[in-house]
């Protein structure tokens, strides 16, 4: 047990920190989302620079262009990115989900065709899993994937897809036989987002921005080379995608929370330094942050030892989302009536935006209800509640 960086990690961290100080574009510091085209343009450039500096695919095997490093380097990377308030690589879906799934299930030609361009940010990926009728219950997807001729034809609707409005490719889970059991008959495809019949509609959210999208597929032809895994074997491929979502996800969350707690402390110092109730709540958030941080380190140790992400990923997501909701609400309470004002660059508009946005945290990427089910069933071994 040693909670300090080892010499190599320390050097990696120092280099990265200096690199970030020199390289994060001014327009992306204090990053708040990819909602404007200007931000996306900066983001593409930024992602290329990250890749050139060797920070894309840190844990990917070297044979696929990655750095082949142990997970702890990815953790340091995420911590330092958060510390610098710099955005991640624009291709997080490709790097964190599509890429590892292709590495695990893809044919050699698929690896050649896709992996390098994920790293370089030449191609941006999105995920087509959720549907309007199938949120938490992924196995109930109804998008049709019909084998036709030498390929497939896709019809259906996906929703809650980040990056779809700028994506080149989509990992899509659909149903190729309607008569089968829920987990069977699912097929996993790579869809070219430029294909005829693909329509993306931004989904405006509570904050007024659109971070997510609906994707409509109307008679979209997908060649058979784009099949990942077997026809009808999509569930197993999808599980790989989802397990990779959780790998070092907690570090990104704790990093974001660290920034938020630091800003909260600043706000409280400025506006409510003597309020005992505020002081108590700020201290609680600080403690929760440390708890999350060190839980991540424990998860990392286990991941490095076993190669399998533990249940701490669900724990981190669950607690981060609730912490972020509490913390942003505390901030608007400190600000008071002024937080009603939505425009401007100051603290009121910033925290109001964060507070409204935080309501999605307990819904996106696994609702809190589903995460508690997962913990109850998979960790504690309780009977299924469904």
């Amino acid at each position: 047990m040693d909670l300090r960086d080892g010499p190599e990690e320390g050097a990696f961290r120092a280099t990265l920190r200096a690199w970030l100080e020199a390289n994060v574009p001014a327009g992306l510091r204090g990053f708040r989302g990819w909602s404007s085209p200007a931000a996306v343009a900066l983001g593409r450039d930024w992602s290329k620079r990250l890749a050139e500096a060797g920070y894309a695919g840190l844990t990917w095997p070297k044979e696929y262009g990655g750095a082949g490093r142990p997970w702890r380097y990815q953790a340091v990377y995420l911590e330092e990115l958060a510390r610098a308030e710099a955005p991640q690589h624009l291709g997080v879906i490709g790097l964190g989900m599509a890429g590892p799934t292709i590495i695990a299930h893809g044919r050699p030609d698929q690896k050649t065709r896709y992996l390098a361009k994920i790293l370089s940010a030449e191609e941006i990926w999105c995920q087509g899993f959720s549907e309007p009728g199938s949120g938490s219950d992924l196995a109930s997807v109804r998008t049709r994937v019909e084998p036709v001729g030498a390929g497939f034809v896709v019809n259906g609707q996906k929703v809650w897809s980040s990056y779809a409005h700028i994506a080149d490719r989509c990992i899509l889970l659909g149903r190729s036989t309607t008569a089968s059991e829920k987990h069977e008959g699912l097929t996993y495809l790579i869809v070219d987002m430029k294909s005829p019949g693909v329509e993306v509609r931004p989904l405006r959210q509570i904050t007024g921005e659109a971070e997510f999208n609906e994707i409509f597929f109307t008679d979209v032809a997908v060649p058979k080379e784009n099949l990942l895994g077997d026809v009808g074997g999509g569930w197993r491929v999808a599980m790989t995608t989802l397990s990779h979502e959780r790998g070092t996800f907690g570090f990104a969350l704790a990093g974001a929370l660290d920034v938020a707690v630091r800003k909260l402390v600043g706000l409280a110092r400025e506006r409510a330094g003597t309020d005992a109730l505020v002081r108590d709540r700020v201290a609680r958030e600080w403690i929760d942050l440390q708890a999350l941080r060190y839980t991540n380190y424990r998860a990392l140790a286990r991941l490095e030892r076993t190669g399998v992400p533990g249940p701490e990923g669900s724990v981190a997501k669950l607690r981060w989302s609730e912490a972020n909701q509490r913390l942003t609400k505390l901030a608007i309470e400190i600000i008071g009536r002024e937080a009603q004002v939505a425009d401007g660059d100051g603290a009121p508009a910033y925290w109001r935006h964060q507070q409204l946005r935080s309501r999605g945290n307990t819904i996106e990427a696994g609702t809190s209800e589903i995460l508690r089910n997962i913990i109850a069933e998979r960790v504690l071994g309780l009977p299924r509640s469904r």
Binding site: S130, S134, G135, S136, D137, S140, V159, W160, L203, R204, Q205, I206, G208, F212, L277, I332, E333, G336, R337, E338, A339, Q340, V341, A342, D343, R352, L356, R359, G360, T362, I363, E364, T367, S368, E369, R372, N373, S385, R386
Partner: protein, 355 residues
């Protein structure tokens, strides 16, 4: 000891609910909110015709001569419908001061006159007798862009008084702010030697200001109850119809118990709000404490009700197109009014514990 509404009061509620459901249904919220004014001006005459703007105004001035209990019913139902228009401003915030000017009461009752309260201590009243001018700025004034006049708390030669500044053309200058709850906008009002009329001079003004605050807190508690009720209804409806894993999601306790908690808190908030309303109608000695308790509790209950409803709705509850976010933003508006819940509880602790 009888904590129930009379048949006439029940009828008023039924009428209000059916009118609002028909004329201002959920489906119209977005359209009204994005209109330039942010409200349907034509609705005001309807509210007046139904007797709502003049509910507590004496019959001699064209009102219905009823009590705050009847107004309470209207506030709750307007909250449930998320009615956008200066009813809270005119009836809760301005009316107590307008009672000093009986000529205006008839205009309020008939729907010809709306007003709001511009409070704060940064406005000066200059002049004497019948001729007064106001100078200074007040911020975050409710419905500033919609009303015909401002009841202004201003510092005159003898202290804080209440003045009436009517709006003529571009005077006083009003800047409507870009705020979160677009169904009840806030504005900055700047007085540059604008003409005003003295409504109440210092010793009397303080009493009116205190009474206004009690009314406003209670009215918002009632509105919060309406907001929470609607959020609960939307959540329940969704939980009954949305299926996941082969069952309606309302069959899962993670959903149903959340909604049960909302029901419980909404009922408790309702009890406090009705208690406060009765205290105000009867000028009871506990009115202040009741109003503060009701506002603190009901605002938090409404915020929690909306948050739970959003969660129960999943991603859909987080979208702009669903009406829930509008209710949520109103609940947050209410919560931020006057003082925080913690500050209100500190007031109560002061009474209980001294110090």
């Amino acid at each position: 000891m009888d904590f129930s509404f009379s048949p006439e009061q029940d009828q008023l509620r039924a009428q209000a609910r059916s009118f609002l459901e028909k004329s201002y249904p959920l489906a119209r919220l977005a359209e009204i909110a994005t209109s330039e004014d942010g409200w349907d001006r034509a609705s005001w005459a309807e509210l007046a015709r139904l007797g709502w703007t003049g509910a507590s105004i004496p019959e001699a001035q064209g009102g219905a001569g009823l009590s705050f209990v009847e107004e309470a019913i209207v506030f709750e139902e307007l909250g449930r419908a998320l009615y956008a228009g200066p009813f809270f401003s005119t009836v809760a915030l301005a009316l107590p001061a307008l009672a000093c000017a009986p000529d205006l009461l008839a205009k309020v009752a008939s729907g010809a006159f709306t007003a709001t309260l511009a409070s704060g201590t940064a406005v000066q009243a200059l002049g004497a007798g019948d001729r007064w001018r106001l100078r200074g700025e007040t911020d975050l004034v409710a419905d500033a862009g919609s009303v015909d006049a401002f009841v202004v708390q201003a510092r005159g030669p003898d202290g804080i008084g209440l003045y009436l500044a009517e709006r003529h053309g571009t005077r006083p200058q009003v800047c409507v702010l870009d705020t979160v709850d677009v169904s009840r906008r806030l504005g900055r009002v700047t007085f540059a030697d604008d003409d005003a009329r003295l409504l109440a001079a210092p010793p009397a003004a303080a009493k009116i200001i205190a009474a206004t605050r009690r009314r406003a807190l209670t009215a918002l508690a009632l509105e919060a109850v309406g907001v929470a009720s609607q959020a609960l209804a939307l959540g329940v409806e969704h939980a009954k119809s949305r299926e996941q894993f082969g069952r309606p999601i309302g069959a899962y306790q993670a959903v149903s118990h959340k909604l049960a908690d909302t029901y419980v808190e909404t009922e408790l908030a309702r009890s406090l709000a009705y208690w406060a309303a009765w205290c105000i109608a009867e000028d009871d000695g506990q009115a202040e404490l009741a109003a503060v308790a009701a506002k603190a509790y009901a605002a938090e209950a409404a915020v929690a009700a909306c948050e739970r409803a959003i969660q129960v709705h999943g991603g859909m509850g987080f979208t702009w197109d669903h009406p829930l976010h509008r209710y949520y933003k109103r609940a947050l508006w209410i919560e931020s009014f006057d003082r925080s819940g913690a500050a209100h509880r500190a007031d109560i602790a002061q009474v209980l514990l001294g110090g």
